[in-house]
Amino acid sequence: MLSLAQLPPGHRARILQVPPEKKRLLALGLRPGAVVEILLKAPLGDPLEVRAEETYLLLRRAEARGILVETLIAAEPHELPPVRLR
């Protein structure tokens, strides 16, 4: 179990827990059970581009830290090669 901010780019994970008071995150599709992936980080390091199912989101690191996920180990290989970030 780790936070979404710790998830390495290119890996998929399933959301376990979102702070229940974060109604906006939940409404945007970041809900327990959804499969997420970090696609990119912004040129200045923050925020992150996150894909939750079919939705692409701008998510700040501070918010990502509050979301708990479990990684999905190569259950479904992604169509795209992992993004190289430095």
Binding site: R24, G33, L44, P47, E49, E53, Y56, L58, E63
Partner: protein
């Protein structure tokens, strides 16, 4: 409720017209609602404000055989449970001013999440049609959606559309079959029982659920509220969160429906994902961002200049004709320098705003604005603002008026307010003539440095204003989370129509206040007054207030008054009061017509040249001309006083057009408070600036 058509016959509608209907478009952000309105009734598009708010209301008239329909675009929302005032408006409209028909717009490319809102809307008890839009994007993703199956599974009629290409015919056909759907989601037992117990007091299922989830400001009686509180306490005791329970049940149902109607026939990585790798690239992202910003700025200001000039020429010609009229001099002056100048001031903003709205609508609907927000977000976090706020702030350096309207792209009103209050401190183009005049007279060696310093001072003051206001109004920082919509080609007709309707809304909403201000200043300058003009009297009365800033000449202080109309007027007024007025030249009819044709031609060629030079860098015109005005200025004030004057001109009350824009965007009372605040900040910082020099 069983017959949707009966709704239009209720008493309140009857007084207007028996066949008048209101259809509301409800759907998530970026589902193409405005494209749909445009495709259904584009030529009738109009823009206004929602009653009692400063939120933009987009609507259009649609004339059908059986009825006259007003199509209303409700703000995009993910759920009826509001997380922002715009979303709260959606709930309020649907519950308290129910439309005759709900057109629920769904994103075919993201159908599962769209269905969550649909399931919620089906509990409202309103006649409903589902419009599955963006079928082209779904197809590009390799998704096939069976619309007949969707209709069968859910109940309400389903129309498939590609609104951006005008493929919307099915909507009107399906609207005739609209009926009140029966709710689809079965919630966990505990929640269903709570809803059942509330039914006698709250018969509407959607309303009961919202109340249970803790939504405030619902149209409920005290008695009903008490019952809701009891049910909530009961659920909490068993450790259940009604919001999460309902959300889970809806997602589960949406998923089930989705899998019955959608089939993947291929799996292509979306183009958007590939484009994002380029646009948001760690190295290329920043230069591309700056290029987009630069182009927006150039497009708005370079292309509008020839048309603003044309309006100025028309104004001159009209004034010239008026001066040639055989009427008393005061009447001539009123018409030429009051009325014509006032209307001209309002209209001169129209080309600027039209182009800005065009650029902004393109950036917003194409998906680029969200990417610009993505890149700027980190930097804006420092001021506690979302990334999107960057674009209006930069536009403020061109002109504050369009920049204030550009804050409408921000979804949270608090962010909008703070950005709008920061914008007037951005040194707009109209302040540059004042800066250069003074800088070259008093600081000839460091003129560019002084001007740059003023720009930076404005920026820092604005950002600090936003930061401090954020601290005062709410402790926590904004979440900033937003959707990055897919890249799209917005239909150009929609862009033009939106820009046109929004420009019209400016002229109607802000035109009056600007005209009144211009006429007031005209009265101050020209009405007869014992021992001079009301202007001189007022300026002399105000001058002691400015002694602490090192300003003792009433003519300098006086020039700040017409500066309220437009800051560049400060220079002209100084010229008149220090050197004496130039008379208006009368113009014969024919000469006027010739001048008009000439300037129309140069506006057209200027636009073409502007298009060609969009990518060229700016040229700052800092050429010093030793004029009589500069000599006269040098005698009127000391260098330290001049610096204080510059700082004051930079920061004090923005021009009347900006105040009028603020009134439309953040409300009249706040705009008034802003004026007082800016005046105080300008006074204090000008006082400090004076101490910098001996």
């Amino acid at each position: 409720m069983s017959c949707p058509r009966c709704d239009s016959d209720n008493a309140s509608q009857k007084t207007l017209s028996p066949r008048l209907e209101r259809w509301a478009l409800v759907g998530g952000p970026n589902t193409g609602k405005s494209s749909l309105i445009n495709a259904l009734a584009g030529s009738q598009l109009s823009v206004g404000n929602w009653a009692g708010t400063t939120l933009e209301r987009l609507s259009a008239r649609l004339d059908l055989e059986q009825a006259q329909v007003e199509l209303v675009d409700l703000p995009g929302t993910y759920s009826l449970l509001a997380t922002s005032p715009e979303e709260a408006l959606v709930v309020r409209e649907l519950l308290q001013n129910p439309p005759d028909l709900v057109l629920n717009v769904l994103d075919a490319g993201n159908l599962e999440r769209s269905l969550v809102l649909t399931l919620e809307l089906m509990e409202l008890g309103l006649p409903m049609v589902l419009v599955v839009n963006l079928l082209d994007e779904a197809e590009a993703k390799g998704l096939k959606i069976n619309l007949e199956a969707l209709e069968e599974v859910l109940g309400p009629p389903v129309a498939g559309t590609v609104a951006s290409r005008g493929q919307v015919a099915e909507v009107l056909a399906k609207a005739k079959e609209a009926r009140v759907p029966s709710p689809k989601v079965r919630y966990p037992e505990a929640l269903e029982k709570a809803i059942d117990r509330l039914t006698p007091r709250i018969p509407n299922r959607a309303l009961a659920l919202l109340a249970l989830m803790g939504e405030e400001n619902l149209p409920l009686s005290q008695e009903a509220l008490k019952a809701v509180e009891e049910e909530r306490a009961h659920l909490e005791k068993t450790g259940l969160d009604p919001y999460l329970l309902a959300l889970e049940a809806r997602y589960a149902t949406a998923q089930e429906v989705y899998h019955r109607v959608a089939h993947r026939i291929g799996s292509k990585p979306p183009l958007t994902e590939k484009l994002d790798r380029l646009v948001l690239h760690p190295l290329l992202g920043l230069p591309l961002f700056l290029l987009a910003l630069f182009l927006t700025f150039r497009f708005t200001f370079t292309l509008s200049t020839p048309w603003v000039d044309l309006i100025g020429r028309v104004q001159e010609v009209l004034a010239g004709w008026v001066v040639a009229l055989p009427i008393p001099p005061l009447a001539r002056s009123f018409l030429a320098e009051g009325l014509v100048a006032g209307v001209g001031t309002v209209l001169a903003f129209a080309p600027l705003l039209f182009l800005l709205y065009l650029a902004l609508a393109f950036l917003e609907l194409s998906g680029f604005l969200a990417r610009m927000a993505f890149v700027a977000d980190r930097a804006m976090q420092w001021a506690g603002l979302p990334g999107k706020a960057f674009v209006p702030l930069v536009l403020g350096f061109g002109c504050n008026v369009p920049a204030v309207y550009a804050t409408r792209t921000l979804s949270h009103p608090l962010d909008r307010l703070r950005t709008a209050l920061a914008i007037p401190f951005m040194a707009c183009g109209a302040r540059l003539p004042v800066f250069t005049l003074f800088a070259f007279v008093f600081f000839p060696q460091q003129a560019p440095l002084v001007v740059l310093g003023l720009y930076l001072l404005g920026l820092v003051t604005g950002l600090l204003t936003a930061l401090l206001l954020g601290k005062v109004l709410r402790a926590e920082r904004g979440e900033g989370t937003m959707e990055l919509p897919p890249y799209r080609f917005p239909p150009w007709r929609l862009l033009l129509r939106l820009a046109w309707a929004r420009t019209q809304s400016f002229v109607q909403g802000a035109g009056g206040p600007i005209l009144i201000a211009v006429l007031t200043v005209w009265g101050l300058l020209h009405l007869p007054f014992p021992g001079g003009s009301p202007y001189a009297f007022l300026a002399q009365a105000l001058t002691p207030l400015f002694h602490p800033l090192g300003l003792e000449d009433w003519r300098l202080v006086g020039a700040l008054i017409p500066g309220f109309i437009a800051k560049e007027v400060v220079v002209g007024t100084l010229g008149v009061s220090l050197l004496g007025a130039e008379g208006l030249n009368p113009l014969s009819f024919l000469a006027g017509v010739r001048a008009l044709l000439d300037s129309l031609l140069s506006a057209l060629t200027g636009t073409l040249q502007g298009l060609g030079s969009l990518f060229l860098p700016f040229s700052l015109n800092l050429a010093p001309e030793p004029t009589p005005l500069q000599v006269a200025l040098k005698e009127a004030v000391s260098p330290s006083g001049a610096l204080a004057y510059l700082v004051f001109v930079l920061l004090y009350t923005p021009c009347v057009a900006t105040v009028a824009a603020l009134r439309q965007v953040i409300g009249g009372r706040v705009a008034l408070a802003a004026v007082v605040y800016q005046f105080s900040v300008a006074y204090m910082l000008a006082f400090l600036a004076r101490q910098l020099l001996p």
